[in-house]
Amino acid sequence: MKKLIFQGLVIIALFFALWFSLRAVNWVKLFKIEKLTNNTQKKLGDLFWETFLHTEKINSNPEVERIIDSIVQKICVANSINYASIQVHIIIKEEVNAFALPNGHLLIYSGLIAESKNADALSGVICHELAHIQLNHVMQKLIKQVGLSVLTTMTNGSGGAEIIKKTLHTLSSTAFDRSLEKEADLKAVDYLIQAKANPLPFAMFLKNLSTQEKKLSGFTNWISTHPDPIERAKYIADYCKTPSMPYQSIISNQTWSSLQNNLHEQ
């Protein structure tokens, strides 16, 4: 029996020794897996965006684009996020919605901009979506809901229009897991604080939208698909209870008014 136990232990030890030795090699780098993943993300992002281009009305006002870009740029610079990797798109639609696509595509609906009381509230939502991008939640959600095999098929051009549309619908109108949403909310607060913007308007925005949900029935996708907005507003407010900081608005009131005016003209 002793011989058997000894031989068994030797086999187990050899197996684990082999596994641990092989673990020392950086296979991910060796097989360029990260590069492959990035390529898949790029192809998926472009594929989804092209589908969107054919179905939605895109903003054509350069002033609106410039102001939104300046907000995103300010947040990115303050948080050491590569601004060049973020592609901001403004969709002309009444729906209060914003979401991220793979490869850094950030889509903001004009309905969301119009419904935001001020630039800090809008910045909060932008920060929330940037957090989803930076924390790789977008790909995680896609893999979980669609599967890596289907995603790879899509990038090979054999996914079928129906699957692409359904996947795009998943991304634009469903929330992430509760834990991922909370992580993105808190990361958004960090981003806002780093950008010296007050995070409380973001919490207030969530609270206000939840009360207006009935009034704006069908147009508040960003709220109705996400976890309870009151609960979110509460933990955001709790999280940012830091010693008072010299907050400053992310853009001037004048620029904010200009944004709203240009948007209404469309």
Binding site: M1, K3, L4, Q7, G8, V10, I11, F15, L18, W19, F20, L22, R23, V25, N26, W27, V28, F31, I33, Q140, I143, K144, G147, L148, S149
Partner: protein, 141 residues
Amino acid sequence: MTTTTLINPTEHEAEKASNSYLMSLIAVIAGLPLPIINLIATLIFFIGNRKGTYFVRWHCTQALLSQLSMLFVNSFAFWWSVSILFTAETITNQFIAYVFTILIVNIIEFIATIQAAIKTRKGMHVAWWFYGTLTNIICKP
């Protein structure tokens, strides 16, 4: 690491003992990805020969035991791969190292199985390291 002894079984015994090893290679021949197929094939052969001679039973047991341990390591890799394909799990150095480890282990097991099948067909008794010792405890004349 094997021990080989010549014990002169009958032609029929040597063929059955050799087949017990060949059964464990059936999934590789059929190209099936499920690790349990090997085990099921070996198990069916083991049950069919449980009343056979000591030489046949002994080799059926050794083949079954080796497949049983292979089932654990291969199943782990199988479900790990499934979780990468269908959940948020990602490909890591740990996963690739595990795949290479079981690939090496499977190749060693494959060569050892073929070698055992050839030797038992010639009437030789082949006892593997650990599995042979375990089979001696389980299988009594």
